[in-house]
């Protein structure tokens, strides 16, 4: 099942109020995605924690197998 990019964008922005997220399908297969995210919650956090926040927002879609891989790019 291909991921719903808009839904994922919404999940990230809902979990991190004030965030701006773009989710793109890197391979055209719908399961290897790239998220570019900026969020006020990232401030002062380590890169690992920034990634953890984004992953936590879409955890459900990892667990149900919709997403195989999510490359995360944190935007300042």
């Amino acid at each position: 099942m291909a991921a719903d990019l808009e839904e994922l964008k919404g999940m990230i922005e809902a979990a991190l109020p004030g965030a701006r997220a773009e989710v793109i399908d890197e391979t055209g297969t719908g399961d290897h995605l790239r998220a570019e995210v900026s969020a006020p919650q990232f401030e002062g956090k380590s890169r690992l924690d920034q990634h953890r926040l984004v992953k936590a927002a879409v955890r459900e879609r990892f667990e149900d197998g919709t997403i195989h891989a999510l490359t995360i790019k944190i935007l300042d």
Partner: protein, 135 residues
């Protein structure tokens, strides 16, 4: 709850190997594009590293790394006992020179993002692939 014996084994491996990569497949035969890209970065750094193929025990290892490092996806690179990150973070740190700093090596002259070219050579990689069997 992660298996205690496996958790202890993983902690040992992280402590014993200055540079340790948990990956899908082996450095000479990666089974995932992200693992392959991470191997390509490490090979360009010219460091010796240990590699663990997570595929034989994927789910138990996910539970273990989730508990140890709050990180569930592979590849995972550890340097001096600390989680560095997955492919995206490793590539980003490679490009901006932070990875060379963490590894204590010179930044390679041609710092190009690793692309899906030839499979990684097994040259700088010295330790035999380690396997953890599912319990």
């Amino acid at each position: 709850m992660a298996d205690q014996e496996l958790t202890d084994r993983v902690r040992e491996l992280i402590a014993e190997n200055d540079v340790l990569l948990f990956m899908k497949g082996t450095p000479s035969a990666p089974r995932c594009g992200f693992s392959m890209r991470t191997v390509q970065v490490l090979d360009q750094m010219g460091v010796e590293y240990g590699a663990i193929d997570v595929l034989p025990a994927l789910q138990p290892l996910r539970e273990v790394t989730s508990e140890i490092s709050d990180w569930e996806t592979f590849p995972q690179l550890y340097v001096n006992g600390e989680l560095i990150g997955g492919c995206d973070i490793v590539e980003e740190m490679f490009e901006n020179g932070e990875l060379a700093e963490v590894l204590g090596v010179e930044q390679p002259a041609r710092a190009e993002p690793a692309q899906a070219e030839a499979p990684a050579s097994d040259e700088p990689y010295k330790s035999p692939p380690m396997q953890i069997e599912g319990s």
